[in-house]
Amino acid sequence: MYKLFKKEDFINSLYKIKDYKIFVPAKEGYYHFFSPLEKGISPDFSFFNTRLSPKSIIYPQSERMFEFSLNKEDPDAFILKEAEKEFPLQAIIGIRPCDAHAFQIVKKNFDNPDYKDPWWTKRYENTTFIGLGCNNPRNTCFCTKVGGGPFSEIGLDAIMYDLGENFLIKVLTDKGSLFLKKIEGGKEAEETHIKQAEKIKKEAEAKIKTDIEIEALLKKGILQVFEADIWEEISFPCINCGICTYLCPTCWCFDIQDEVYKDKGDRIRNWDSCMFPIFTLHASGHNPRAEKFRRVRQRFMHKLKYYPEKYHDGVQCSGCGRCIIACPTNMDIREIANKMSKI
C-alpha cells in the first residue's frame, strides 16, 4: 500500500504525535544526528546520512543494567536488582535502508534462540522504522554488495521515497501502517507517483559503483586469511581509536563496569571496541591481541569471516560507509576486503 504526503504536512504532523517518542535526522553543527523530536529541533531530510548511526536508540552507549547496595544493614545488600527503565513506543523517521538492515544484523546477537537481551529486544519491539530511500548514494556506499540496497526494505516498517515536493510512502508492516495512521493529510498515491519512485530506485542502484569483492572473500578459508602476511602492512596507519566501531551500525560489543558511590552502586554496560588494547586484556596480564595488527585483523575478520561462518547470512556490514568517511587514517574496508579476498 502506498500513501502520498506533502513533505510539509508530513513533517508538521510529526510534531502532533504524542504517543510515540519520535527520532528525526537534524543538523547540529557540521553534522546530522538522530535527535528526539522536540521543541527547537527541525527535521532535515535533505541529508546524506547521520554522522553517528542510529544504533544507540535501541542500544545506548551506556546503559544502567542493575543497581545494588553495599550497606550491610540493607535487607537487599549485595543483591543485583534490575534498574528501572522505560520502554516507550518510538519511531525512527528517515532511517536509511543500510541502517535498518544493520539492526537485523545486530538482532542475530541480541535476539536469537539461545539468548535474548531483555533491553535490546524490548526497545527493538517498541520501535517503528520508517525508512528513507537514498536517491543519491555516495562513492563510499556499498549496500548493494552486502545484501541491501538504496531502497532495500529489510528491517523497515515503511519506506519513504523522496519525490521532490512529496514523500511517497510504501507501507510494509502492520506496525508501519499503525504509525502512518497518525500522520494527517495523506492521500492515495497515483500510478505516476509509483512509476516515478521505481525510476528513482533504479537510478540510485545504478549509482553504486564499488569493486568490493565479498563473494570471493566468503570462499576463502578462515586460517588462510588469518595467517596471511598482509596484516602488519594494512594496520600501519591505524591509530586504534574507536571511531570505526562506534560509528558502525553493526558493531555490538560491550563492556560491563560497576560504578560505586558511597554504599550504592550501578552495574553499567558501555559500548566497547576491539580496537582498544584493554578489550582483550586478561586478568593475568596476558593480552592475546597486544599488537595493533592483531586488533585490526580482528575487526575485519569478525565482520567479513567469523560472522559469515557463524550465521551463514552474509557479512556483518551493511555498507553504510561511515568508517570509510570518518577514519582519520583512511583505513578503507573495501580495500581491505579486497586484499583479503586476493590472498
Partner: protein, 315 residues
Amino acid sequence: MMQHYTEKIKEIAKRLFEEEKIDIFIGYEKGTNPFFPRPTLISKIEDVNKLIWNSNCALNLCNYLTGRKERIGIIANGCTSRSIVTHILENQIKREQLYIVGIPCEGMLDYRKIQAAVDNKEILEIKENEKEFKVIGDGFEEAFNKEDFLQENCLACTHPNPVIYDEIIAEPVSTRAARPEYEDIKEIEEMPIEKRRFHIQKLLERCIRCYACRNVCPLCYCPTCFVDERIPWFGKSIDPTDTLTFHILRAFHCAGRCTDCGACERVCPVGIPIRIFIKKLNKDAFEIFSWEAGLSLEQKPLFAAYKKDDYDDFL
C-alpha cells in the same frame, strides 16, 4: 607547489634508500578519502613513488615514531618537527635514528569548512596550486582560495617552518603570526564559573569517548592511559562528568608539550573543538613561563626545568 613538494619528497626518500641512510621512510600516500591522506611506511625503494604531500596531510606523523628502533626518514612541517623535538627530549626516539625532511608549511585545509561550502556534496578529489584549490565531485567542480579555508590552528601558527631537520625541501615560508594568539581562550576564561562549566560541558555533549583525539596525538604515548586502568578510578560511560574528566586530565598531561598541530580537532568524529583544552595550558605556559613546546633540543622540558624566579603564586 604541492606537486613540487611531492616530487622533492620522493627524490629525497629514494636517495636516502640508495645511500642506505635509512631503513624506513614515513610519509603520506594517496588513499580513498581526499581529506585524509593515508600515513604510510615505506620500506622498499620501489615504493617511494607512493609518497605525496598536499594541504590535507594534517595528522602529526611524529605519532608513528614512538619506540621505533629503525633508522627512519620522516617528513616534518613546523608543528610535527616540534613534536619530534619533544619526543627526543622525552626519550621516545633518538635524534641519531632520524633523517628529518623539513617541509615549510603553508597551512592545512579545514575540511569541515570546505564541506559546508559545497553544501555537503561528496568531494572525490582535490587539486591545488599555490594559492587555490579545486574540489571535484560527481558532476560539480568548485575553486576556492586556500587562505579562506585554513584550519584555525594554522591561521594562528607561529612556527610554520620546521625547527629541526637534516634537509629542507624549499625556502622557509613567512610566519603568519608573530606571537601565539589566545583570544578564544580569553573569552572562556572571562566567563563566570558556572557559565564556563556549562559552556565546556555543552561542547563535549556529543563526545562518544572513541579516544581518536588521544590516539592521534603524538604526546599520548603512555603504555596505559589513565582511562584504560583495569581498576578504573573514574567512570567509562558517557556520563558528562566522566567525559569532562577525560578531556581535562588529558589536557593536563599535555601541558607544556602541545605544538597545536590540530590533529585532535581534525579527527574528532563529532566535531568537538578539542584544541581549546590544551590551548588553555599552552596559554598559561606561554604567559607564565614564556614557554613554547619543542623549539629546541637544548631547552629542557617545561616541567623538568626549575628557575628561582618561576611563577609560584599558586603555592
